[in-house]
């Protein structure tokens, strides 16, 4: 009895922490909740243009992530409610769901989540200790492991694609292993009928049909870019309007991520300086390189709108755990990331290389920290005493 009482006292005393007892208004839980809510427009756009696949991807990833988090906290003798309740696993799985192809069979998204949560996050010590961004690491893992199936699961977007890729259709593709082609053809048909209403002359019909052939071969726009840039002939790829039905989706996603980013910035969850530095560096490097070597580098609008640039700028780069720790270092980090994205997109062997660029600059972040650490007052500065 005495022992248990003394244990109770030990508990009380050891639970205390030393002064100062400051408490931020924003807890981790709130931050994660706001991030989740700010991604709602993006999810809506994704559903509208790419079908309901993302809902199932999100479900897959979330269930796997929550189960794994619970398992890890059991193994570590930590409170499950605390580890699962901080919602970071759900944010990871939502970002993973947004980056994975919408029609990816369930096995692969589960594997990606297992890698992201178990190996990238839990083994390094859980939230706040991970070196690499879990979502990006999971994406890279599945991209390298199964390039074929991941590449062929992307959907080329069309307005109102959710009518073709309905809940039941997506369900049968993702869980029952049904073929994607039927749904993709329906989506493509939508694009063409949409365009026909706008302009009916024979010439555009012919080009649209050519487009259709292109899409039918399973190539998304980034695939086409890749095959052209491999030969250094990217400037020969036909131009396009981002307001046309086929490319509208990218513009809408851009706007949706911008809205989410503005929400995050207004809550001061992400650092505005970093985002500004990223965009400035990205636009500058992309503009210069595009004008110098138009055969290899895509134009600035393409670079911004297509692929994962926007989600990277607002949600992945600004991850407080994996970016640099000093305020100067964060800007260098953003510039490095922009540089890597532009150059890996020109010379990388995968379609979109944002994830690889993020992982590379995450690996550089500790080095950037060391290089930019603040000089203590009075200590030698640039060789002068």
């Amino acid at each position: 009895m005495n022992i248990s009482q003394s244990q109770g006292r030990v508990k009380q005393l050891l639970g205390l922490e030393t002064a100062p007892h400051l408490k931020a208004r924003m807890t981790t839980q709130w931050i994660m909740l706001i991030v989740l809510l700010s991604l709602i427009p993006a999810v809506g756009v994704e559903i509208y243009y790419f079908g309901f696949g993302i809902i199932f991807q999100f479900l897959n990833c979330t269930i796997t992530a929550v189960v794994l988090e619970a398992l890890v906290s059991l193994l570590r003798h930590q409170k499950i409610s605390r580890n699962v309740g901080d919602l970071s696993a759900i944010v990871t799985s939502l970002i993973l769901a947004l980056t994975l192809p919408p029609m990816l069979p369930c096995y692969y998204s589960v594997v990606a989540t297992v890698f992201a949560i178990l190996i990238v996050k839990a083994i390094f010590g859980g939230l706040g200790q991970n070196i690499f961004n879990p979502a990006m690491a999971g994406f890279v893992f599945i991209m390298i492991s199964c390039p074929g199936i991941v590449g062929s699961s992307y959907v080329s977007p069309a307005p109102q694609a959710y009518k073709a890729a309905t809940l039941t259709e997506s369900y049968s593709i993702i869980y029952r292993g049904a073929s994607k082609e039927l749904v993709q053809n329906q989506i493509d048909a939508m694009t063409i009928s949409d365009d026909n209403q706008e302009s009916n002359d024979a010439l555009t019909m012919a080009t649209k049909l050519l487009d259709k052939v292109d899409v039918m071969s399973g190539a998304t726009y980034l695939d086409a870019i890749k095959s052209y840039r491999k030969q250094g002939e990217l400037n020969r790829l036909d131009g396009h309007e981002f307001t046309s039905a086929k490319y509208q989706a990218y513009l809408a996603l851009f706007i949706a991520y911008c809205i989410g980013g503005i929400v995050l910035m207004s809550f001061r969850i992400i650092i505005i300086r970093m985002v500004v530095a990223f965009f400035a560096a990205f636009v500058l490097i992309q503009f210069v390189m595009h004008n110098l070597y138009p055969g290899y580098f895509m134009s600035v609008t393409d670079g911004l709108l297509i692929g994962g640039t926007m989600i990277c700028a607002f949600y992945i780069m600004t991850d407080p755990v994996t970016n640099a720790g000093t305020s100067k270092g964060r800007i260098y980090f953003a510039v490095l990331l922009a540089f890597l994205i532009v150059f890996l997109r020109a010379f990388g062997s995968y379609n979109d290389t944002v994830a690889f660029a993020v992982m590379l600059s995450n690996a550089c972040a500790p080095l950037i920290d060391v290089l930019t650490k603040r000089r203590a007052y009075g200590i030698k500065y640039r060789g002068k005493h």
Binding site: K11, S145, P147
Partner: protein, 251 residues
């Protein structure tokens, strides 16, 4: 001389050199050395020696078996020879002499494999010849065979060789199952008709993860094996230590 002492300490871990010489000859300590190489001082999982062939060759179970047998053979023979002639070697030039013997043995093994198992030879490539520079063999020669008589050296070499062989095989099997979905693919070239009956498919090709047979996968699985070994080895101690922890301050 000081350098050699360092090396001994590094490869032998906690073992004191004087202990070895004292009880080197009785059978019990030989068995102890044997099991030490097999488990607690395993060259692959504990000493972390020979990582280059360990990660490069283990893309399939069969090439892992091939390299494991070759390493075991060279390790045993070199330990035997070196322990037999250890008193004739000048201390100052012992490393070149060891290398000479090991290289001779490796060349013989290499020609043998090239003649009788050409497919295996093609698969192993340069790593068969690189057994010469394998740190396990040099480490055993320097740390044990150069100081002990023939029989203990034989047991030590066998323990280390078999330990390394098992690690190679397990790593190769896991990587092959995850990466290609098969097990013992190509065993026909190694074991003939018996090997053909061993070949089997475990996971269908749709569900394989190619990253397992790429270099990062090798590091991941190796890390998991080391972690598993440490977990099993320290299970009792960890349980005992955990019983003293105060649950309330662990979040």
């Amino acid at each position: 001389m000081s350098e050699t002492n360092k090396e001994i300490k590094y490869t032998e871990g906690t073992k004191k050199p004087c202990d070895m010489n004292k009880n080197g000859n009785d059978f019990k300590s030989m068995l102890k050395d044997f099991f030490k190489g097999l488990w607690s001082n395993n060259p692959g999982l504990c000493q972390l020696l020979g990582l280059c062939p360990l990660l490069a060759v283990t893309t399939s179970a069969c090439s892992a078996i091939g390299l494991g047998i070759a390493t075991l053979l060279v390790l045993t023979l070199s330990s035997l020879i070196i322990s037999a002639i250890r008193k004739l070697i000048f201390k100052e030039i012992r490393i070149p002499v060891y290398v000479l013997f090991i290289a001779t043995l490796v060349t013989a093994v290499k020609f043998y494999v090239e003649a009788y198992f050409p497919e295996l030879y093609a698969q192993l490539g340069i790593y068969l010849a690189l057994i010469v520079t394998n740190c396990i063999i040099m480490g055993r020669a320097e740390a044990y065979a150069g100081k002990n008589s023939i029989l203990p050296s034989l047991f030590d070499a066998l323990g280390n060789g078999i330990g390394f062989f098992i690690v190679l095989f397990v790593l190769g099997a896991i990587r092959e199952i995850l990466g290609q979905g098969t097990l013992f693919a190509g065993a026909y070239y190694l074991f003939g008709d018996f090997g053909k009956s061993l070949e089997c498919t475990i996971i269908s090709a749709d569900y394989t993860l190619m990253v397992a047979i790429l270099p990062p996968g090798g590091f991941f699985i190796m890390a998991f094996l080391v972690a598993l070994k440490n977990y099993i080895q320290d299970f009792k101690r960890n349980k005992y230590e955990n019983s003293f922890k105060i649950k309330s301050i662990q979040n």
